[in-house]
Symmetry: C2
Subunit: 214 residues, 2 copies
């Protein structure tokens, strides 16, 4: 295999970032998460905070009002401008060598890449709410409300730029519920798969048809 890449898509509060870090540590390869934000800020000229908020989420204001606002560069909206740079950065990173890339539609941007393992990490609303309170120091009265807002805006961003459905099981090689399976165990499963892939499926003769043909 050449450059084996792991992309980790994740629900906000599911611990997907931590899973990505653990996988990279266990495999001894780079994990790109905050590093992507820094590269984006550097190449785009936007602040770290602006890139953080606009490189993965639709803005709170309506999408159209953003697209058609005066905030454009050479006629391209700021968010489209960030997307173009982000896509280039992710393709460059993947070409350099094996790595883990967290979020930012890397699964879509690298969909034609050889030796790609696409992962989706999710958890129940209750599990994620408890997590952002315990780990993120969430102080809002309703963490569920914040999670729903994050889910809605991240989904809208992903589906706008990829034209794919966020969280559709067929889009990922492996999808894990971190609230039930545990962060460490999720990482172990991904590391194990990374080491063994690619693997040919061996059809089994005992898997006979069970339905009459129509």
């Amino acid at each position: 295999m050449k450059n084996k890449i792991v992309t980790i898509s994740r629900e906000f509060g599911s611990g997907g970032r931590t899973v990505g870090k653990l996988v990279a540590q266990k495999l001894g390869i780079p994990c790109y998460d905050q590093e992507l934000i820094e590269k984006l800020a550097e190449e785009s000229g936007f602040t770290h905070e602006y890139v953080q908020e606009h490189s993965e989420y639709t803005p709170h204001s309506s999408w159209l009002s953003n697209v058609f606002s005066g905030r454009t560069i050479n006629g391209v909206s700021n968010q489209d401008y960030l997307w173009i740079i982000q896509r280039k950065i992710i393709l460059d990173i993947a070409a350099k060598g094996p790595c883990v890339i967290v979020g930012r539609c890397a699964d879509y941007i690298l969909r034609d890449t050889e030796d790609l393992l696409t992962v989706f990490i999710h958890a129940s609303m209750q599990s994620r709410a408890e997590r952002i309170v315990k780990v993120y120091g969430e102080t809002e009265n309703s963490p569920e409300k914040r999670l729903k807002d994050k889910d809605k805006r991240r989904t809208a961003y992903y589906e706008f730029y990829t034209d794919m459905q966020w969280g559709k099981v067929q889009n990922y090689h492996v999808a894990l519920d971190s609230g039930v399976i545990g962060i460490e165990k999720c990482a172990d499963i991904i590391v194990d798969l990374y080491k063994q892939l690619p693997q040919e499926q061996q059809p089994s003769a005992d898997d006979k048809p069970t339905t009459s043909k129509k």
Copy 2:
């Protein structure tokens, strides 16, 4: 843990049945697949073939034409009648002891069961088409056409009776692409998770917030 149950939802041609059998063999617990068909036929009085076709798929004729056709028992459509018996059989099986149950909306029927591991096995259209030709002895010119028909009717059946979305990643604890991961490896991952669950998620202090609160 009490009765640990594994439910395996699967795309037609993904090898999910074989994964279920392997998991049950490795764990030394029963796997209910064809056994469900036989119990359903026995308790409903329908033929094995009729139950096979109508216990997991909407009919080729339109759903409404089936519901309002004269084919009813005490005013209940045949398919609703089968669903009622199927639900009872699955609840009885789960109450008896640990087991693997393949398909038939068991993930939904047992959703409130303690110690449930819900699995979804899928694969690309190309991988499934190759599989039904190699393993199932598929002889049609277009296995893709048959797969699409199966997908459409199984999805419609699931969503009609469960009011849940088929293949929505959040509905399953683990979802695996058997075409990429391999049948044997899928089974090993599920067996490993079965043995280790339940497992508490341990929040990690290094998973700091990366987005400004709104």
